[in-house]
C-alpha cells in the first residue's frame, strides 16, 4: 500500500526542489510504479500545476515538459513526422491508452528503467534532460548517473536532422519488451541503442566504423554494413537473462533487430 503523509501541489520548481531534498519525499509522475510499491512517502510533490505537460516546438529544439503524458507524445504530429513514426512505434505497445494517459515522460526517463522503450528511442536522438539543479545534461550522460534528488523539468530533443527507426521484440503485443532497438542518423552520425537487455538502454559504439558514411553507401553496401555491424553488436552488447528471455536469446535478437533496423533506415525492402 502506498502511504502519503502530505501532498503538495507546488507553485514553482524551486518549491518542488526544496521539498524533494527530504529523503522520504517523492515527485509524482504518472504514479504507475509508485502505487505498486509499499512506500511511506512523507511529502508527495505534484508538479501538475506548473504547465509542464506540453510539448513546445521551438525553432531548433523540442522542449517536452516532464509531465507530458506518453499518449500526448504519441499523438504529437510534429514529433511523429520528425521521428518518421519511430516515437509512436516506441510508445504504442505500452499497455494501453489509459495507461499512457497517466504515465509521464519525466517519470519514464528519470526512472532510467531497463525495460523502457521511451528511453531507448530518446537515447537514439540528440536528447538532453533539463534538470533544475544540474541544468542541461546529455541523455547519454544522464543514463549513467545515479538517481539523486534533482528535478527533471523537461526533455529536450534538438532538431538536428534525424532519420530514425525503432524496433522491439515482445512476447505479447502489450508486454514489456524482451529487447529494444533504436537506430538513427543524427545528421550524418549513425547511432545504435539497445535496451531491455534487460539492463538499461545503452549506445552501441561503432568502434570499427562499419556504418561510417552509411548514407552514401549503395544498397548492397548498406546491407553488408548492417550485417557486419549487427554481428558486432551481438558480440559486444552485454545481455542477460530474466523472466522474459535468456541472454542467449537476447544476443540473437540484438543481431536481428539491429540488422533489420539499419536495413529499414537504409531503405532496403524485404
Amino acid at each position: 500500500m502506498l502511504k502519503i503523509k502530505s501532498y503538495v501541489k507546488v507553485n514553482s520548481i524551486a518549491e518542488a526542489y526544496e521539498l524533494n531534498q527530504k529523503k522520504s519525499a517523492c515527485v509524482l509522475g504518472g504514479m504507475i510504479w509508485l502505487k505498486m510499491g509499499n512506500r511511506n512517502v512523507s511529502t508527495a510533490i505534484d508538479l501538475s500545476g506548473l504547465g509542464l505537460d506540453t510539448v513546445q516546438e521551438l525553432e531548433d529544439e523540442y522542449v517536452i515538459g516532464c509531465m507530458t503524458t506518453l499518449h500526448d507524445l504519441e499523438i504529437n504530429k510534429s514529433l511523429d513526422a520528425f521521428t518518421q513514426g519511430a516515437l509512436r512505434e516506441s510508445l504504442r505497445h505500452i499497455v494501453g491508452v489509459q495507461f499512457r494517459n497517466c504515465a509521464t515522460v519525466g517519470g519514464s526517463i528519470f526512472g532510467r528503467y531497463g525495460f523502457s522503450d521511451v528511453l531507448t528511442l530518446f537515447l537514439a536522438m540528440d536528447t538532453w534532460v533539463d534538470l533544475y539543479q544540474a541544468g542541461r545534461v546529455p541523455l547519454a550522460e544522464f543514463v549513467k548517473m545515479k538517481k539523486d534528488r534533482d528535478i527533471l523539468q523537461a526533455v529536450i530533443v534538438k532538431k538536428t536532422p534525424l532519420k530514425t527507426v525503432y524496433l522491439s521484440q515482445r512476447n505479447t503485443e502489450t508486454d514489456f519488451p524482451v529487447l529494444t532497438c533504436a537506430v538513427s542518423l543524427i545528421g550524418e552520425q549513425p547511432r545504435t541503442v539497445i535496451g531491455a537487455r534487460p539492463g538499461c538502454a545503452m549506445v552501441v559504439e561503432d568502434k570499427e566504423d562499419f556504418l561510417y558514411g552509411f548514407t552514401e553507401m549503395s544498397k548492397k553496401e548498406k546491407t553488408e554494413a548492417a550485417r557486419r555491424f549487427s554481428e558486432y553488436a551481438a558480440a559486444n552488447v552485454p545481455v542477460g537473462s530474466n523472466m522474459r528471455g535468456s541472454g542467449e536469446y537476447r544476443r540473437l535478437l540484438t543481431e536481428v533487430l539491429t540488422r533489420r533496423a539499419w536495413e529499414t533506415l537504409g531503405g532496403i525492402e524485404k
Binding site: 504514479m31 499518449h71 494501453g96
Partner: protein, 159 residues
C-alpha cells in the same frame, strides 16, 4: 484534504486522505461500476474519463481530480444502454465485470478517433482485458455500433 471536482456533472466538495486512490474514492461515493481487477495497471477495468480522456483510476490519486471533470458509467447511463444493446445482442457482455471500463474507453475512443479502422479500434482498446468473451464478439458489436452511429448522424444531418 479538500477536493473540489465535477463527478458525473455535479460539482462536489469532498474531504479526502492524500493517499486515497481515485478508484477507491469513486466506489466510496457510490460509483460501483468502477471495478478493480489488478494491482499493476494492466487490466483497464477501472477506466474513467477525466476531462474526456480515459485514465486508470487505480493509478491516480483522488487529489489529482482537483478541478477536473470525472465521468464514470453512472454518468453515462443512456449512452451505456445505447452501446450495451449491441454488446448484448452478441451475447458478448458475458460476466459483465470488464464491461464498464471497456465501454467508458469506447466513449473516449469515439471522442478521439474519427472513423477508426478495426485495427485502430483494437489498438485503442488494447488496455481493456477480458477473459470471458475472447474479444471478437466485442469487436463485432463495436463495428455495428459505429455503423449505427454514422447512420444516425447522417439521418440527423439530413433533417
Amino acid at each position: 484534504m479538500n477536493l473540489s471536482f465535477w463527478l458525473n456533472g455535479v460539482y462536489r466538495h469532498e474531504e479526502v486522505e492524500p493517499d486515497t486512490m481515485l478508484l477507491d474514492f469513486l466506489r466510496e461515493k457510490g460509483c460501483y461500476s468502477v471495478k478493480c481487477g489488478c494491482e499493476t495497471s494492466n487490466c483497464g477495468l477501472c477506466t474513467v474519463l477525466m476531462d474526456g480522456k480515459p485514465v486508470l483510476s487505480c493509478s491516480m490519486l483522488a487529489l489529482r481530480a482537483e478541478g477536473k471533470k470525472i465521468v464514470t458509467m453512472e454518468g453515462m447511463q443512456k449512452e451505456a444502454e445505447e452501446f450495451g444493446a449491441f454488446l448484448a445482442d452478441e451475447g458478448a457482455e458475458q460476466c459483465g465485470f470488464c464491461n464498464p471500463g471497456f465501454i467508458m474507453n469506447i466513449f473516449a475512443m469515439e471522442n478521439e478517433l474519427e472513423d477508426p479502422t478495426e485495427e485502430e479500434i483494437k489498438e485503442y482498446l488494447a488496455g481493456n482485458l477480458c477473459r470471458c468473451s475472447g474479444f471478437v464478439g466485442q469487436t463485432r458489436s463495436i463495428l455495428k455500433y459505429l455503423e449505427y452511429k454514422k447512420t444516425k448522424k447522417r439521418e440527423e444531418a439530413e433533417e
